[in-house]
Symmetry: C2
Subunit: 372 residues, 2 copies
């Protein structure tokens, strides 16, 4: 993967104690901003990215040369309107887009961390990003939001910092990873580790990367991001540039070709060890257990206004799991709205052009900012 | 994988023209029987196995030393009662339990076929197994049945041989593989092919097998065999022999340990190339397309009595896909019953102790045999 981009980076010299027990010092957080922070500094939105996302929310991503991952939602005149709001997004720690991650040099050994990088958690990610508020001199964020793992960070943020965001929008997420979620992540990890080029995580010292394993991991994950019906409508049994079956193991079907493509482009932008670390953080996420089995306790100190959003065809983080968050919030009389958006695009809906979702987001954000 | 078992084998010297265009001669079909064929030869049941199944339906499987794959359903006094019926099951061609498969020697080259083995189809599998009727001198089977890929073979059998079975029971299957089905199979194939030990299918000439890739393929498939709720109830976030998270990539969670185990035992009994060939056959299956887009036409010549069975939590071959078969049969006034069995065990339900399923099976079989 390409590494020739100078990431905008915040150097953090405040020690951060990680959940694993280690303390990190002098670590980097790569970030991007969109829009302008107003004088009152009350228009800042902290966006958290998902597993394979990064800080390049909107505009052109300098690594992929494609649109940022949330370009449908973030931009001038869009749901998260950069003419009105100051959007901040940082690469999570453990990532591979400039933030402290397994590709960094371990100062103690002068070698690349690899799997000597500490296992991090969603809590660690959020605590690391909290430093952005100091940096921008923001006393209170207008909003925190994000989908999938980004939504988990939203929940963790409000739990950790109950007074620091006026509005919170966790989208298509869960308060704890289910057995099936863990199973799919473990599948991805085993796929990477099965690649002999992975070399127990020490592949940076060789010319070969575990691209085949990482590609299969991405294919597996990609299937879970789409709905069965959505796949059927988009691909069905359509053949790939041929009139009939070829009776071979080439990609006869479009869906095969599509998955192979998704795998192949992914390895150009993502680091295999980061994939291991970030999926691990997701699997460890359990806000309910963190609060003694009572999810409501995670939010009992907050006055933050919540909007929970789920999608009908999302089977990775289905509506039922999003509703558990809604129930926990209602059980303590929190200010909480909930919408389930009709979409056949599966978990990926939050990244796509789903008008009802984007309209809901825009309406909620603007109303919360301008009418309160 | 072990190969020291002498499989019971039917040597077929009648040429078989495959869908790919090739004709095979003098090929083997490994089979097992249970119970006794009566004098009238009207009590024979041909059972078709699923992707990773084999001819060892009941009793102890000589390879795995565990119970046969359908031991809950087949045996003395069971739903498919071997005191009453003569059960035949053959390893599919393309398989690795003694039937003609990619581990065989290609007589033209005197080398192991590997990926020079012809790509076979469900139709080819069924036509190969039809030879069993001649061998046992059976004019008409009492029943054909099977789950998953076994169910596809049931449908294909009745379509090919409309007068040759009194009763047909396709369980938890589909009339054509969906895009999501193909996607998961392609994931498995790519996982095997990503293993450098696969060596383009030529691994038989080396001491190493693509066990890591095959293991990951099995893990992926295994997740699809279980329901999200079933996984949650059985494993949830339970830890594996530890009090707390270890902050490592070991199997912290029971679900991780379980999947790793499933992968590791699978490679002892299954051949990676067979996995490629059989998944390909499943992906190619499209009985609707085979009949010009009208599934009813597949069955218009038959008087066979059908019972279609699906399971509520099966998301691999959901009830909706099973119902398409029911609709196609009803549309030509066929004799068809349909039951959806309540179960949280997912697609695997047909292999497990699901009392309502086994009771339904037993009642339908005995009534159809003894009261008509």
């Amino acid at each position: 993967m390409s590494n020739n981009v100078n990431f905008k980076t915040l150097k953090i010299d405040k020690p951060l104690k990680l959940d694993c027990g280690q303390t990190i010092n002098n670590f980097n957080l790569a970030y991007e901003t969109y829009g302008v922070l107003n004088e009152k500094k009350d228009n800042a939105i902290l966006v958290f990215h998902a597993l394979t996302g990064d800080q390049f929310v909107s505009g052109i991503n300098p690594i992929t040369k494609k649109d940022g991952w949330w370009s449908y939602a973030v931009g001038s005149g869009k749901a998260i309107d950069t003419d009105k709001y100051f959007v901040i997004c940082a690469n999570v720690i453990g990532g591979c887009m400039g933030s402290f991650g397994p590709r960094d040099i371990n100062p103690e050994t002068n070698k690349i961390y690899g799997t000597n990088f500490p296992v991090i958690t969603i809590n660690d990610m959020v605590n690391a990003q909290f430093n952005l508020l100091d940096f921008f001199n923001i006393k209170k964020l207008f909003a925190v939001m994000g989908g999938s793992m980004g939504g988990m960070q939203v929940l963790q943020f409000v739990s950790n910092f109950p007074d620091m965001a006026k509005v919170a929008i966790p989208i298509a997420c869960t308060s704890s990873h289910s057995a099936q979620n863990i199973a799919f992540n473990e599948l991805g990890r085993q796929s990477i580790m099965a690649d002999t080029n992975w070399a127990s995580g020490d592949y940076s010292n060789q010319s070969k990367n575990p691209n085949k394993g990482l590609s299969v991991a991405r294919m597996a994950a990609h299937i879970t991001y789409l709905s069965k019906n959505g796949l059927q409508e988009k691909f069905g049994r359509k053949l790939q540039e041929r009139d009939d079956l070829k009776f071979s193991f080439d990609a006869d079907f479009q869906i095969e070709s599509y998955l192979r493509y998704q795998g192949s482009v992914f390895v150009d932008r993502f680091d295999a060890n980061s994939y291991l670390y970030i999926t691990r953080a997701m699997d460890y996420f359990d806000l309910t257990k963190e609060h003694g089995g009572n999810l409501s306790k995670a939010f009992e100190k907050t006055k933050t206004k919540f909007l929970i959003i789920s999608f009908t065809s999302d089977w990775l983080y289905p509506t039922s799991e999003n509703k558990e968050i809604v129930i926990a919030l209602n059980a303590i009389g929190a200010d909480v709205g909930f919408v389930e958006i009709e979409s056949d695009k599966g978990h990926d809906s939050f990244l796509l052009k789903v008008p009802k979702f984007l309209d809901t987001l825009k309406g909620f954000i603007d109303t919360s900012y301008f009418k309160n």
